[in-house]
Amino acid sequence: MAITASKHIKSWLVAFTILTGLTMPAQAQLTVDVENTAADELTIAVPGLSTPQSAETPAGTTAELGNKISDVIVSNLRSSGLFKPLGRNQVRGISFAEVTAPQFPYWNGTSASALIQGFVRSNGDGKLTVGCYLYDVALETELTRTGFVVDPGDWRRAAHKCADSIYSRLTGESPFFDSRIAYIAETGPKGNRRKRLAIMDSDGANHRFITNGQATALTPRFSPDYKRIVYLSFLDGNPRIYVYEIGTGRQTLITQSTNPTFAPRWSPDGKTILYSMAIAGNTDIYKVSAQGGKPTRLTSSPGIDIGGSFSPDGSRIVFESDRSGSQQLYVMSANGGNERRISFGGGRFATPEWSPRGDLIAFTKMAGNFRVGVMTPSGGGQRLLTNSWQDEAPTWAPNGRIIQFFRTTRGSGKTGIWQVDLTGRNERQLPTPVNGSDPAWGPLLP
C-alpha cells in the first residue's frame, strides 16, 4: 500500500491497528480503560468543494453546496474519533482546476497528512455530480476517487458517501455514514413521558417525527430496505407490534392476536419479523412473514423468552431468557431448537444484538450499573464498553465497528442516545432535538 510510505499516515495506521485491537493479544482486551482517551488522529485537510461554474439548484447554488458538503464530510470524519479534519475555515479554498492537480508543496507546508478535494457540478438534467478525491500529501499521490450523481435535495447523501469512501480507504473498514437511525423521541416529566417514533440520518440531520405521541411508541427497527419500520405502540391501549410504511403512512398489526406482542426485529433479508408474545403471562418468541400469515412459535420455556436477533446469515437467533432464574443470553436455530446458553459469569444479560459482521453479539449487562458490552456468538471474549448508571439497548453501525445505545440519568429519568466504538473509545452523545431512547441503526442506504 502506497500509504504506508507516508510517515504521518503510517504512524497513524499503527495507532489505528491498536485502536481496533485486531492484532492485540487477548489479555489486553479483557478490560476497557475508559480513562485512556489518548489516541492519534489523522489530520486531513478538507477545503470546500469547488464548482466548475456556480449554478442555481433547488438546494442552493453549487458553490454553496460545495461548502456544505465539505462541512458534512468534516463533521462525519471528526465524529468517528479517528480523524482530525481541518475544515474550510482552517484551510484555503481551491480552484476547480486544482481538484485533480493538488498543490502538494502548499499542503506539505501544513499539518495535514491527507487531503480531500472535490467538486459539485450541475448537470443539464437537474441532477448534481459530486466528485470526491483523497490524496496522500507526503507521497503526493491519489489514494481514491469516487463520484456520485444525486438530486440536489440529496446533497447530504453525497457528502456521507464521500466521507464513507475516505473512511473505508484509510481504515480498511466497511462504510457506515450513509445510513439512518430510527429511535424514540422523549419529552415530558418522568411520570408522564411522551414517546414518539422518530427517524434521522446517522449524523442527526433530516430529523422527522413519525408519530404524534398520543400513543406511547417503543423499540423501532428499520426494515433493511428502509421502506418500513416495525415498532411497538400502545395505540389500542395495549402493547402491540405494528409495521409502519414510511411512504404511505399506513400501519398494520403484525398479528391479529389480542395478546400483547413485544420486541420486534427484522430478519436480515427483510422477509421475516421476529417478535415475542405473552399468552396468559408467559412470553415466547415467534416469527411471522413480513407479509402476514401464520406465525411460528420458536421457544416454549415457561420463562420469559424475548428480544431475539438474527445472525447476519439468517441461520441463527440470539435471544434472552430468564428460564435459569435470571436474564441470560441463548442462541438457537432460526427455526427454533438447538438452544444453548452463551452468557455466564454473574450478572443479568439482556437485549442481545448480532453484529452485521457476524463476529460479535452486543448486549446490556446488569450487575449494579447497566453497561453495554460484546461477546462472541459462542459466549467468549466478553468485554464491557461503557460504564454509566444505566446504558442499555445496543444497536450496531452498518459496519459493525460502532455501537449505539441509550443512557438514562439516575433520578430525572432523562435519556440520550450515545455511541462508542468497539475499543470502548470515542464515546459521545448523538445530538437529538429532544431526549432519545431505543436507537435502531439501519444498514447502509440502498
Binding site: 411520570g191 411497538l232 439516575r410
Partner: protein, 169 residues
C-alpha cells in the same frame, strides 16, 4: 354563617386531597348534561357510586399488590389484598377490572413489558382462584413506562413493582 362556612370548606378540600392521593389515573367520565331518566345510584359510604373506582378504593384494602425485584409471586400479604378485591367484585357483580402490571426502571424495556404482563396475570389468576370470573378481568402491561414513584432508589422501585386493579366504567 361564615364561621361555619370556612371549616366546611377546609373539610371538603381535605376530603378531596385524600381522594387525590389514591385516585386512579383515569377520571370518571364528565356528565353528559342530557336528562337521563335513569335514577342516580344510591350513595354508599362517603359518597362514591357503587361499582365505581372510588367505591372500590374505599372498600378494599388496596387497589395494588407489590412485588420483589424480578419476581411475580403473590405472597400472603398480597393474598389478603386480593381477597378484599375479590369480595368487592362479588358484591358488585357488574363491575369489571383491568389489572395493570408494572416494573421498576432498573430493567431493560422489552423484559419489563413481559414482566409486567406476568405480574398482571399473577394477580388476575389469584382473583380467578377466588371465584372472580376471568371474563370480568383484562390485563395490560406498561413495563417501566409508567412509574408511580419518581425517585431512583429502592423505596421508589419497590412501589413501582406493582399490579394495580382499575375498575372499568
Amino acid at each position: 354563617m361564615l364561621k361555619y362556612a370556612t371549616p366546611l370548606l377546609i373539610t371538603a378540600s381535605l376530603v378531596l386531597a385524600g381522594c387525590a392521593k389514591k385516585a386512579p389515573d383515569e377520571l370518571p367520565p364528565a356528565p353528559t348534561g342530557t336528562s337521563d331518566p335513569v335514577a342516580p345510584p344510591a350513595p354508599t359510604g362517603p359518597g362514591y357510586a357503587p361499582g365505581s373506582q372510588g367505591d372500590f378504593l374505599a372498600n378494599t384494602m388496596s387497589d395494588r399488590i407489590l412485588f420483589d425485584t424480578d419476581r411475580y409471586n403473590v405472597d400472603s400479604q398480597d393474598q389478603v389484598v386480593l381477597q378484599s378485591q375479590a369480595q368487592w367484585l362479588a358484591q358488585n357483580p357488574n363491575a369489571r377490572i383491568t389489572v395493570e402490571g408494572h416494573a421498576d426502571e432498573r430493567g431493560t424495556r422489552d423484559y419489563n413489558l413481559a414482566l409486567g404482563e406476568r405480574r398482571a396475570n399473577a394477580a388476575k389468576n389469584y382473583l380467578a382462584s377466588l371465584g372472580v370470573s376471568p371474563t370480568r378481568m383484562t390485563t395490560v402491561s406498561y413495563g417501566k413506562e409508567r412509574p408511580d414513584a419518581l425517585g431512583s432508589n429502592e423505596a421508589a422501585w419497590a412501589q413501582n413493582r406493582r399490579a394495580v386493579s382499575i375498575v372499568v366504567q
